[in-house]
């Protein structure tokens, strides 16, 4: 149902606002491509690249809407090489953002965890340096087991012959 609504909406725009539809149809090709290749269910790629793609279309659409919403102006705009550069440039920025962000996020998260690990290990080291290796053993303090050298000798009064 939803795709039908989208198609109907696109159809209405295409009929009623033909020049805009043409600009959008060409200008939003990067977004369309992203839609086709974005595997995330939430389509965050479409959101990212699409937003910047749209921003790139703004300087093309605004003159169309303010200086004459005609097919001739639309075609003229599409024929301007600068128009392509702006649109693709903006979409490109979106692409960069989309592909660079996950590794940056990963780096930040890893950095935080690694720092925390480092702090804890440093503290552990300080504790062991002060209290000794026994800190990490299972045996408790004052356990009756002592080193072999200190083992108690059995005590026996020697018997004498009579």
């Amino acid at each position: 149902m939803k795709p039908l609504i989208w198609l109907f909406g696109i159809g209405v725009i295409a009929v009623l606002f033909r020049p805009t539809a043409v600009i959008l149809g060409v200008g939003l090709l990067p977004t369309l491509l992203t839609f086709l290749f974005d595997r995330t269910p939430e389509k965050f790629g479409v959101l990212c690249i699409g937003s910047l793609n749209l921003a790139g279309l703004y300087p093309v659409l605004m003159p169309l809407w303010t200086r004459g919403h005609t097919m001739e102006n639309a075609m003229k705009a599409l024929g301007d090489p600068n128009t392509g550069a702006v649109i693709l440039g903006a979409a490109g920025v979106g692409c960069v953002i989309y592909f660079a962000t996950p590794p940056i996020v990963s780096m930040v998260v890893r950095s935080r965890i690694t720092r925390e690990i480092g702090e804890i290990e440093k503290r552990q080291g300080e504790l062991v340096a002060y209290w000794g290796e026994a800190l990490s053993e299972d045996a408790g303090f004052g356990n009756a087991t002592t080193a072999p050298a200190l083992k108690h000798k059995p005590v026996k009064i020697p018997t004498r012959g009579r």
């Binding site: 699409g50 937003s51 605004m62 990963s106 965890i113 804890i120 800190l135 990490s136 200190l150 000798k153």
Partner: protein, 670 residues
């Protein structure tokens, strides 16, 4: 304790085995008196006491500066260190003797005439005997094998040294009066001069006949016969003696101490040539018919008591039998004895309860023979001899466990007290032992550290060396000796709980009023080895405060042991460093309390323990957290893969909106 003068050099590789006694070994020695004009070194004889016997200190003190002729001169006594080894022995130094009069008590030897006995034996030893009597002491070792010719000419005889074994310990039963003959040789009384006179009588009999009076009889059979017919009849009956010798022997072998000849009569006989009044001899009352006990038969109350004590486990049955009651009433001729025995045994029935049976037998023995020794199961003793008996039993260890248990029962239940009352007025030593026994009744059966039969031993006898395996070879009699002995121990002896065997704790408790039960419990009962060691060292510090001698080897060894234990048990590096530093400084000083400077500080060890527990908790918490973080680290990649696109989407959207807003504000496209 008194150290032997260094002028006496004992040759431990030169034994004089013929002079050995049951308690001491004899060695050649040299007297190298360094005093100018003393002359060349002279040979002497050294008797070295073996561990496990009460030292004869009191007897030797009684013989101090004994110059009377007729006895071997005691030169000196005291503790002598062993060369090279760490041990010490109690040594008695005597002047050399001539040849032994009789090398053996069992083999025959040359008999002497009356004249020889009077002039060459009795007259020469009389001054010594008079001196002994005047000092209110006794020799207690008069026998043919302890008589020596004064010199090579074999003219006169002298008494051998006293105190080479505990009083009467080496006297065969026939050389002892009846009461002492029935006593365990380890447990005979020491100060009764009249016992010496009896021994003299038997000795002279043996010199006159050239043999011992047993002939082919067993010692127990001789004692039984003496109880029935009297010692003189039993030993002399059937022998051919001159009238003169018979008079002397009869006078000295009287069983009643009161009637026995004294030195005055002996002097009259030997010196004056006069015939003293014959003694009044009361013959033992003999029953109309004998009664059988085991394989033996008894015809008098005293001999019945003697046999009952030798068949203890069967005695209960006999005493509760109709046969016994009949015998008592119809055959025993002593009314007083019959009354006493009837009171004890009437109404008693045979019982399997050991305690009840033992009490019946014990009370029956008292009733039958109140003058006899204290007898209980395998034990028989006179009060003064009890410390030596306890010492010997404990020194034998496991092999004498039953007798040790019987001694504990005897003391704890006061089974000896009825017998002690029957003895009437006691001598000083017996009274002292009795008083100590009363105080030991509750202590003797307690298993607390420092208590038990071991404590009883050291309380009973101030002259008993400590039997702890740690110091048994060092003749430790007092606290000074203990400090010296511990100072000489090799470092291998210093192990965990080295100072906690029952003997050493009992010895410490008995010799020092500062070593209380609380101190002992702390030395043994603490949970950690370090805390126990600290308490044990505190105990030694208390001992040193009394003994007042420096012990640098001991403090060095204790410091090493403390270091090793502290290293294992003290966790905090700061406290550990402080303790080790203190020990390093205090080790060579010889003052034990200096070792505990930091360790004794209130709560130091406890604070260390608590700190460690808290640190452990923190460490374990950290370990758990580390594990969680490392787990998180491995999942970070996956997280980033999920989170990244989401953040990218938001950044993209925000950037896009921001770009549009900026362009709108700038009027782009208008």
């Amino acid at each position: 304790m008194l150290e032997l003068s260094p002028r006496y050099q004992i040759q431990r590789d030169a034994r004089l085995a013929a002079l050995d006694t049951s308690a001491a070994r004899a060695y050649k020695a040299m007297d190298v008196d360094p005093t100018p004009g003393a002359g060349a070194a002279r040979p002497v004889i050294a008797y070295l006491y073996q561990p496990g016997n009460v030292l004869p200190l009191e007897q030797l003190r009684a013989f101090d500066r004994f110059q009377a002729p007729g006895m071997v001169k005691i030169a000196d006594y005291g503790v002598a260190a062993r060369d090279g080894e760490g041990g010490r022995d109690f040594a008695l130094i005597v002047q050399p003797m001539g040849e032994m009069v009789a090398p053996s008590l069992v083999q025959q030897f040359d008999a002497m005439s009356d004249e020889t006995i009077a002039t060459r034996v009795v007259r020469p030893i009389l001054p010594a005997l008079k001196e002994i009597e005047s000092r209110r002491t006794a020799h207690r070792a008069i026998r043919p094998t302890n008589l020596f010719y004064a010199d090579a000419s074999r003219t006169n005889v002298i008494l051998g040294p006293p105190a080479t074994s505990p009083p009467g310990q080496d006297q065969p039963a026939y050389l002892e009066p009846l009461e002492s003959a029935m006593t365990d040789p380890l447990a005979r009384a020491g100060h009764v001069f009249y016992d010496d006179l009896f021994a003299l009588g038997v000795t002279l009999l043996m010199l006159a006949t050239g043999r011992n009076p047993l002939r082919d009889m067993k010692p127990e059979a001789m004692t039984a016969k003496r109880l029935e017919v009297g010692s003189f009849e039993a030993m002399v009956g059937g022998l051919r003696l001159t009238t003169t010798m018979t008079e002397l022997v009869r006078g000295l072998l009287v069983d009643s101490r009161r009637e026995r000849w004294g030195l005055a009569e002996v002097a009259q006989w030997a010196v004056d040539g006069r015939r003293p009044n014959p003694p009044r001899v009361t013959q033992p009352k003999v029953a109309g018919r004998p009664i059988k006990i085991g394989s033996d038969e008894a015809s008098s109350a005293r001999s019945l008591a003697f046999h009952i004590s030798r068949h203890w486990d069967h005695a209960g049955k006999l005493l509760t039998s109709e046969e016994f009651q009949t015998w008592i009433r119809r055959s025993l001729a002593e009314e007083a004895v019959v009354d006493r025995v009837t009171k004890v045994t009437r109404g008693s029935s045979e019982t399997t309860v050991r305690e009840r049976s033992d009490r019946l037998v014990l009370n029956s023995l008292l009733a039958l023979d109140p003058a006899g020794p204290m007898r209980y199961r395998d034990l028989s003793f006179q009060l003064e001899g009890l410390p030596n008996l306890v010492g010997n039993v404990l020194a034998e260890g496991e092999s004498e466990r039953d007798r040790a248990a019987d001694l504990s029962t005897l003391i704890a239940n006061g089974l000896w007290s009825g017998w002690a009352i029957m003895q009437g007025t006691l001598g000083n030593e017996a009274a002292r032992v009795r008083s100590m026994l009363e105080r030991q009744r509750t202590v003797v059966t307690t298993r607390d550290p420092g208590a038990g039969i071991e404590r009883c031993l050291y309380e009973l006898s101030p002259a008993m060396p400590c039997l702890s395996p740690l110091v048994i070879e060092s003749c430790v009699v007092d606290l000074n000796d203990l400090m010296i002995a511990l100072d000489r121990l090799p470092k291998e002896s210093f192990v965990e709980d080295f100072l906690t065997d029952r003997h050493i704790l009992a010895f410490l408790a008995s010799r020092s009023s500062k070593i209380t039960d609380q101190v002992l419990r702390q030395a043994v009962g603490r949970r950690s080895a370090l805390q126990r060691l600290v308490q044990q060292i505190k105990m030694l510090a208390l001992v040193q405060s009394t003994a007042k001698i420096l012990v640098p080897n001991l403090t060095t060894n204790l410091a090493n042991l403390l270091k090793a234990t502290a290293d294992q048990e003290i966790r905090g590096s700061e406290l550990k460093e402080l303790v080790l530093k203190d020990l390093e400084a205090a080790a060579p000083l010889g003052k034990i309390d200096a070792l505990l400077k930091t360790l004794e500080e209130s709560g130091a060890l406890e604070a260390d323990r608590r700190g460690f527990e808290a640190a452990r908790a923190e460490y374990m918490e950290g370990k758990k957290k580390l594990s969680e973080l490392k787990d998180e680290l491995t999942k970070a990649e996956r997280r980033a893969t999920g989170l990244g696109p989401q953040i990218a989407g938001m950044i993209g959207m925000a950037s896009g909106l921001a770009a549009i807003a900026m362009m709108a504000l700038m009027g782009v496209g208008f």
